[in-house]
Structures are given as structure tokens and as C-alpha cells.
């Protein structure tokens, strides 16, 4: 852990005694308390759900099930976990390769990803999430909550699915000032998140938009139609 800097502006190495410490012999660097780069890397690689990197960081706890372990080196250290922006491959290429795996002849199970853009009304920028990293609406909701910290999800009920058969419960949720997530499905329709079983949602969701409950009212009737026609 890097030692705290004093309040004086100091041009020396962080944690060092004073300016000019950088010219000393190597051993003095070790005693300055500055974090060695290897520690930094370890810290970085072990981070969970860090801000600014959600789309590429895999939570180590539930990460490895999705990836085939390399046959070359079964004793791989945790360093195999993903780091933001590494390997340095353009997002465009990453997306194309991920989609290829989903639809190609040689699709391998478990190594594909389902990245979708997430926008939130009022937030200055969009994010991306990999839906395949979550097993339920609750997990997705938690992840989105962390990403957009002012975002509070409405009450979802025990199974994580909105009870569409109960109109009044639904109308309460949509009348509140809480945010609700909506998504664009394969047909290009905007739907309320939570109406279909989780896996079906992952397969059909193309992008997410988190909107104010009051704005989402227009979605509910259509969502209920689709739901009823499937029942």
C-alpha cells in the first residue's frame, strides 16, 4: 500500500523522503514504500467490478466457468483474469469475434459473450455489459446498480421477474420515480426487462436502456401483450 503523501507538493517519488530520490541506488526505491509494479498488476488483476472497466473485468469468483482452461498450462495463476483494455484489441474486432462465436459453424460452448450497450437517462455516457456473465435478473440488477450508482431498481418480486398478471403492482412500480431497465429485443421492440425467462432474455436482448419508471409506462401494455400471447 503506497504511503500517503504529505500536504506539501513534492516532486520526488511518491512515498520518498524528498526530491531527487529517483537518482539513488535501487535499494532506496524499495524502502520508499512505493508499490512495486508487480504488486500493482496483481491488485489490478484481482479487482472486482472496478468503476470504468465493467465491460472487460471478470469477477474472479464466477469468472472461470465461462472460459476453457488452457491445455498448455493448467497451473495458470489468477493473472489470467481480464484487465480493462487488455489484450489491446479494438472493440469492433472483439464484438465481431464474439458474434462470430455465437452464430458461426464452430461455436464453442461457454466461450461466447453477449455484450450489449447500456444507457441510462441523464448519464453522460454509455456502458457495455456482457449478459452471459450473469445468471439471473437479480445479478444483472446488482451489476447495473454498481455501474450507475444513482440508479435504484424497483421491486422485483421473489423470482426476479415482474408479475405482469398483477396490473396494480406493475402500475405502482411504473408510477414511482425509481428507474426501470428496458431493452430492445430482436424484433426492434422496446420491452420492460423481466417479462421472459432469463435465458430467453439474454438471447433476445440487443441493448439496454435504464429509464425513469414514469417514462416506461408506455412499454408495459406491449410487454403484457407479448407475455399473454406466450402464456
Amino acid at each position: 500500500m503506497a504511503s500517503m503523501l504529505g500536504t506539501e507538493l513534492c516532486l520526488g517519488l511518491p512515498g520518498g523522503v524528498g526530491g531527487g530520490g529517483g537518482n539513488e541506488v535501487d535499494s532506496s526505491l524499495r524502502t520508499t514504500g512505493k508499490r512495486g509494479f508487480s504488486e500493482t498488476v496483481d491488485l489490478k488483476l484481482n479487482l472486482q467490478a472496478k468503476d470504468g472497466g465493467m465491460d472487460l473485468i471478470k469477477n474472479l469468483d464466477n469468472g472461470s466457468k465461462e472460459k476453457p482452461v488452457s491445455a498448455k498450462d493448467p497451473a495458470k495463476p489468477p493473472a489470467k483474469a481480464q484487465v480493462v483494455g487488455w489484450p489491446p484489441v479494438r472493440s469492433y474486432r472483439k464484438n465481431v469475434m464474439a458474434n462470430n462465436k455465437n452464430t458461426g459453424e464452430e461455436s464453442e460452448k461457454g466461450s461466447s459473450a453477449a455484450f450489449v450497450k447500456v444507457s441510462m437517462d441523464g448519464a453522460p455516457y454509455l456502458r457495455k455489459v456482457d449478459l452471459k456473465m450473469y445468471k439471473s435478473y437479480q445479478e444483472l440488477s446488482d451489476a447495473l446498480a454498481k455501474m450507475f450508482s444513482s440508479f435504484t431498481m424497483g421491486n422485483y418480486g421473489s423470482q426476479g421477474m415482474i408479475d405482469f398478471m398483477n396490473e396494480s403492482k406493475l402500475m405502482d412500480l411504473l408510477n414511482s420515480s425509481d428507474y426501470v431497465p428496458s431493452y430492445e429485443d430482436k424484433d426492434g421492440d422496446w420491452m420492460l426487462v423481466g417479462d421472459v425467462p432469463w435465458q430467453m432474455f439474454v438471447d433476445s436482448c440487443k441493448r439496454l436502456r435504464i429509464m425513469k419508471g414514469s417514462e416506461a409506462i408506455g412499454l408495459a401494455p406491449r410487454a403484457m401483450e407479448k407475455c399473454k400471447s406466450r402464456a
Partner: protein, 572 residues
Amino acid sequence: MNYFPDEVLEHVFDSIASHKDRNSVSLVCKSWYRIERYSRRRVFIGNCYSISPERLIARFPGLKSLTLKGKPHFADFNLVPYDWGGFVYPWIKALAESGIGLEELRLKRMVVSDESLELLSKSFANFKSLVLVSCEGFSADGLAAVAANCRFLRELDLQENEVDDHRGHWLSCFPESCTSLVSLNFACLKGEVNLGALERLVSRSPNLKSLRLNRLVPLDTLQKLLMRAPQLVDLGIGSYVHDPSSEASNKLKHAIQRCKSIVSLSGFLEVAPRCMSAIYPICGNLTTLNLSYAPGLHGNKLTKLIQHCRKLQRLWILDRIGDKGLGVVASTCKELQELRVFPSDPFGAGNDAVTEEGLVLVSAGCPKLNSLLYFCQQMTNAALITVARNCPNFIRFRLCILDPVKPDPVTNQPLDEGFGAIVQSCKRLKRLSLSGLLTDQVFLYIGMYAEQLEMLSIAFAADSDKGMLYVLNGCKKLRKLEIRDCPFGNSALLEDVGKYETMRSLWMSSCEVTLGGCKTVAEKMPSLNVEIINESDQTEFNLDEGQKVDKMYLYRTLVGHRKDAPESVWIL
């Protein structure tokens, strides 16, 4: 200098094409500056915030072709916020209002709105060429405006853009009178296009030399297009799935064989490997082959294809080719100059990866190799030293070991000596990207030997500020330096702030520089914009000077602070 009339000098300057040379010419004397400025047709602006459109227009009223680059390179890897900047609209608006006869616009990493495209299409009667690389912000609507309004359009080249395109009607917007197309590349579009409109467009474009299709253009359309455009030089295939014994396959073979001019082939966005034999007849002429979006092609089918490509100069491939496959490249492609090997699993599982062996084979077999991008499982010092000896002509050398701090697996040493050999041997090296376990030593070598180096990318390397100082002091021609996750702090940053004025830009993220250090640079160098990018959810920046800065991007500029920065960016 005054002996020749202006027209003579103009005529002489016309034959000077390179930007560097023209810049030099303009510095000779006032009259040369004046003549050069009026005769300048092409301008390249590597950082759109280094100058304003107004000043560009004032200096070069005869401008016809403009190239602009926006976001920093690391934006490609999600390290820059979505709304950071790089908007092209103000440029197009200013150019439109000035009466400049713009004919060509090339953009990289910029935000291009439909509004911009529409304004562009309506403002320049002679507009001929639009090239967008890694841009975003537009949809098929913008493309429709370009197609409909640019009557003399020759080139529409979309490379790796994020385009919002549900509806494919833009192709139908090319009027019947449009017969001037030379190049059409829509491989990055995800939506369907009107196939009939595409066929008619190709039929009435006798000058069409380059055509790159997207994934949704089926095989029978491909066959029809090839029949109508046997003069093609560059082809990007969309869907390539057929039964080799079928009638459709025969027709395709016949159509391909008629295309005797094709030297560049790419795409295969959807491919059935057993059908590749139909391509063999044209392989002997290929100088460029890009199979990096075709994960379905590997093993024997891939190597068999490559064995037909004896004239290849540029090869982009996935790491599925394996070391053995690279051996086939080495023994077949003796003219090879550029090799790019991309990871087929960009999320780093590294199952089908190449190692140092493949690279050594290629370096031994392809002595003309001068440009490399290589994503691999591992690398050794011995291999790099061998490569350096075999190929002293590298201009671009970018190595990415998938595990960011991996040492030489044989000796467990850092890769300092290997990269040191590369910079010592390759005297013309202009661009270098490092990876693997690296100490300050490699930077000592770079500072000592990499005299022509213009761009350096560093990640997870070095032990101390010394590393950065070696580079800043040694590399006199350095223009772009981008660093992430290295222990470089204020001491290195502040040693010679004047240096940054000689460079285009410096990026440092997840290093040890503090807010105080960055502020000092900004104070001492008013000709630099020092931007702090803060993407965490806190709405206010922590004003503590000792606070480490997550991301800093500084660049020289003639026009001061930009006005379009979002909340997450603070310009000091």
C-alpha cells in the same frame, strides 16, 4: 528566391506530395510560404484539437483533401470515455460556410453524426471521397444522405466503424445517374442491404475497383456482382458458404476466374472451409490477404489456401493458424512485408495461440518483413534476438503477449534483452509496442538505439521513473508516447516538460503521476492541453494535489483549451 515567377514555383511544389516536405518548403521564406499555402491541396491533422477549422481555412484556402484524427489511440481499448470528444461537425460546418471546395475527407476515431454527414453531402458539389475508420455516431440515414447527394462520389470506405444500421435502404439512395464509384466498402455494416440495388449500382459503375461486402450479402449475389465487375482489384467477401458440388459453386468458380485483376482479398465473414478451392485460381496474384475476421478458416484448409499465395506482401490472420501454419507462410510467401496475427479469442483464453516459434519461422523465411503486429501466448529473448538478426528492416514492431507480465518461459528472465536486440538491429524502427515482463533496462536500450522511433506503447512495464526518462531523453524523434500501468511518477513527467511540445501527445493511465504533477506541466507549458479523465461515479474531482491521476492525456495545441469536453474530462 525571387527569380522565378510564382507559377513556376507552384508547378514545382505540385510535385512535392509529402506533408513533411511541404511543411519544410513553407518555412524557407515568406514568398515560398505564401505560394505553398495557396497551392496546398491536402492537409493531414493528427490531432483534431491541435488546430481549429477556422485557422486551417485561413491558411489553406485551396484545400481539397482533409485527414483528421480524433480520440487517442487507447480509445480503441475502452480506456477513453464514450463522449470524450472528437466531433467532426464543427469542422464540416466551418468548411461548408467558408466556400472551400472540399473533395475528400478521411477521419479516424472521430464522432460523426448523421447531421454531419448530411451537411457534408449538401455542402460540397464536387465531393468525391469519404473514408471513415473506427468512427461512430452515425447510422444508415447518414449514409443515405451521402449516397443521394454526392453526385460525383468515387469512394465510400467504411472501416471498422460502429454503425447503427437497422434499415438497409441507403444503397438504394444512389441515383441512377451515379456512375462514378471506384471504391465501396461496407463490410462493417450489420444490417441488410437491398441486393437488387447493389447489383444495379455495381453494373453501372465501370470504374469500380474496390468492393467490400458485409456479412449479409449472400453467395448468389456475390457471383452476380463478380460477373458484372470482372475489373475488380480489391474484393471483400461477405458470406461464403456453399456446397462445393453444387451448381451455385460452379457458377461462382467461373465468375471468380474472370476476375484476373484481383490482388487484394478480405472478408469471409461467414465461411465454410471446404469451399476455398474456388478461390485458388486467383490466389497466385494476391498481394494482400486479410482473413482476420474468418475464425472458421484454420488447419489444413487455411494452409492449403496460403500455399497458393506466393506473391503475398501483406497478410492479416488469426492465431488459429498456429506455429505450423506460420511455417507454411514462411516457406511460401517470400515477398511478405507485413504480418498481423490477431487473437481469435480476444478475451485471452489463448487456447489457439501462436508462440515465439511461429515468429522465428516467419523471420527466417521472409527477409523483407518490415511490419509486424503479433499477439502470442509467449515470447523468449532468444527468439527475439534471432528475429532481430533475420529481419533488420522493421519499421513497425508490435508484440502483444496475451499475459501482460509474462517473462521468458525458458529462462524466467524479463524480455529486456530481446527487445533490446530489436531496437539495436532495426535502425529504421518508427513504431514499437512492448509487452511481457520488462524492467527499466529495456528502456535504456530504447533510449540508446531507437533513433527513428516515433511512436511507443508501453504497458505493465518498468521498475521506476528511470524507464520513462531514458525514453524521453533518448528518442529525439518521438511523437506519440502512450503508457498504462507503469510506475512512472511526477519525477519523470516533470524532468523536461519542453519535450512535450516536440511531440503530438502523451497518454499516461494508471501510473504514479499526481494531480499536482499534472498541474505543474499545465502551468509551465501553456502550449499544451493537459486533460485529466476521471470516469468514476463521483461527480466532483478530488482536489487533493497528492491524488494519483487515473488517466492523463496531454497534447500540444495552437488553440488552447477545447470547449467541448464532457464532465468526466478536466482540462487543467
